[in-house]
Symmetry: C2
Subunit: 344 residues, 2 copies
């Protein structure tokens, strides 16, 4: 059988074409029984109204998926807010999808591409190790935003990326702590097999110690376990509690996210110690919350708004074929507030 037309449906139902049209468009001016009969016929024969299918296709092509790894991260909330505005401004809609830390974001993306006819994808946060073969299946342009380590086997011409230099900015923070007299600096970091921003921020810590001839003490390196909610308040709390309970001496704690740093502060307060009198505390991200914490958090500020805008901009430039894929690294800023102090 050839494809059904609206005429075929009308004929089968014994009604006029305009009645079928009213049923399809949910027009109030139609007998409910007639409408039900028409809808049943449409369903049975799989007829797709031509115009509405065409509209579907057109509007569906106007979605951008944002795939986020790790929902609880407030840093991402700020980025998503800006991205949504940028996407809306260009008359696209945003399909937001959160991916678990143990989920494969490209599998999720492939599924979305199939279901949603996306125009483009933004991957936000997380690892990104996928085969070239798999990435090629995506068939739509994508941008990696704040993902530390780019895919090794995939040409840089095949995607855009936005990030800060996580290793360098982390190095700056730890160097600053060392310059302020801290020699024993604990780091609350990602799992040691991490291959994304977590690895890079730890690398920056290690380099700063090495360049200052400070011996690396494995007891000061405190990775999140896989069971913890990654980069969360609770993970910072638990790691710091363990550090204190283990009796490991240190004068500063550096957490690789602001949320972890706030959790760390609370664990120190709960142990009866003060910040920064007993411990200096530093974070990473530059979230608004860090500024409102008491004491306000010393941190590395990533230019969230600019990065989110640039992420959308790169994607839309590729979509409109105005530009090829680009890779931008933003400078971050060391923000010294109340949670750290100089020691002798």
């Amino acid at each position: 059988m050839g494809e059904m037309t609206i005429k075929d449906i009308a004929k089968m139902c014994g009604v006029g074409i305009s009645t079928v049209s009213r049923a399809i468009n949910n027009h109030p001016d139609i007998n409910p029984e007639t409408k039900a009969m028409i809808n049943a016929t449409i369903k049975e024969y799989g007829y797709i109204p031509n115009n509405s299918a065409r509209n579907l296709k057109r509007t569906e092509a106007k979605s951008i998926a944002v795939l986020v790894k790790g929902i609880s991260n407030i840093f991402f909330s700020s980025m998503i807010k800006v991205m949504e505005e940028e996407i809306k401004k260009r008359k696209y809609t945003m399909v937001l999808h959160h991916v678990e830390f143990n989920e494969d974001e490209v599998d999720v993306a492939l599924q979305l591409v199939k279901e949603k006819r996306l125009a483009g994808i933004i991957f936000l946060g997380g690892y990104f190790h996928h085969s070239e073969e798999k990435l090629k299946k995506l068939h739509v342009p994508f941008v990696l935003s704040t993902i530390g380590c780019p895919p090794e086997n995939f040409s840089k011409k095949g995607y855009s990326s936005i990030s800060v230099d996580d290793e360098l900015e982390s190095y700056h923070m730890v160097t600053w702590l060392i310059k302020n007299g801290h020699q024993r600096i604990a780091i609350l970091c990602a799992a040691l097999d991490d291959e994304s921003i977590g690895k890079l921020r730890l690398d920056g810590y290690l380099r700063a110690l090495k360049e200052n001839q400070i011996e690396i003490d494995q007891q000061l390196i405190r990775p999140m376990s896989k069971e913890m909610e990654q980069y969360s308040l609770q993970s910072g709390y638990t790691l710091t509690q363990q550090l204190l309970e283990d009796g490991i001496k240190c004068s500063a704690v550096y957490a690789i996210s602001d949320m972890m740093a706030i959790g760390a502060c609370k664990a120190i307060f709960d142990s009866g110690k003060q910040i920064p009198e007993d411990y200096s505390l530093a974070g990473f991200d530059g979230t608004e919350l860090g500024a409102f914490y008491h004491p306000a958090l010393t941190t590395v500020r990533q230019p969230v708004e600019e990065m989110a805008q640039a992420t959308a901009k790169l994607l839309f430039e590729v979509l409109s074929e105005k530009s090829i894929h680009k890779h931008r690294i933003f400078p971050a800023e060391l923000i010294i507030r109340e949670s750290t102090r100089k020691i002798k």
Copy 2:
């Protein structure tokens, strides 16, 4: 002209049906020029591949829109996380859309319904005053989640709702403060023409004072201005700073969201005063952040997870026609932590 079939496209292009199919499905095994020619023909004649159109329709019907008023509210982030899980579990996808405080969420919803073929809508937060006529146009089931005042002119049979009793829970909090010796309690609240949770929480405050024969002092009532980011850290900070600068005497500050309460704490600390020694501070929501703040925040905990699950559940029950629309009110819990104290 009748509707195009894949045969027509193949004939026009002088290729076989399988070649057209390969072009449509982005199969790698096709000459790029042939593919371009086929795609151009498809575009010109507006042909929609039947199967893919059918898939589109099927998958499109499987979207649930979540319309959130006020993105910066961390309370909503927790709810959205749970809702996304619940929606995913049922093989639907979530279309998340943030609505500005001055935007009309039903207009946004009507647009989404048109573009996205939604199965259902969850409205999260905000006002909800819309004409019956307008709401009827939605044509898909919807749930109002944590929206204080239901639409007055619309039958309760036409939608589901989930909330706490905002007036009662606010009344409990203020009554507890009064029992702990506080007579002069400032409230950081919504604009005075608010007709949603903001109004209800203020009503609870007023009732508690009245029942305890405490005169209402308008100087202690501190509404957010329209220009402020609503319920935010910064709004809590600014309102409290103004309260202190105005020299208004009070022993407790009650903020109608945890984020505002944290902002208020920071303003008090910045003025050189202590919490709870100089001021008791109470919030509303029961966010994780309040627990990690220093001092940990006394607050009203809404059962976020249960409420988000119930929101999805009610919607899907209506969708599957297992149930009619329902209205559920959850009990909240007074959580006494470190930010408040008993005074004489």
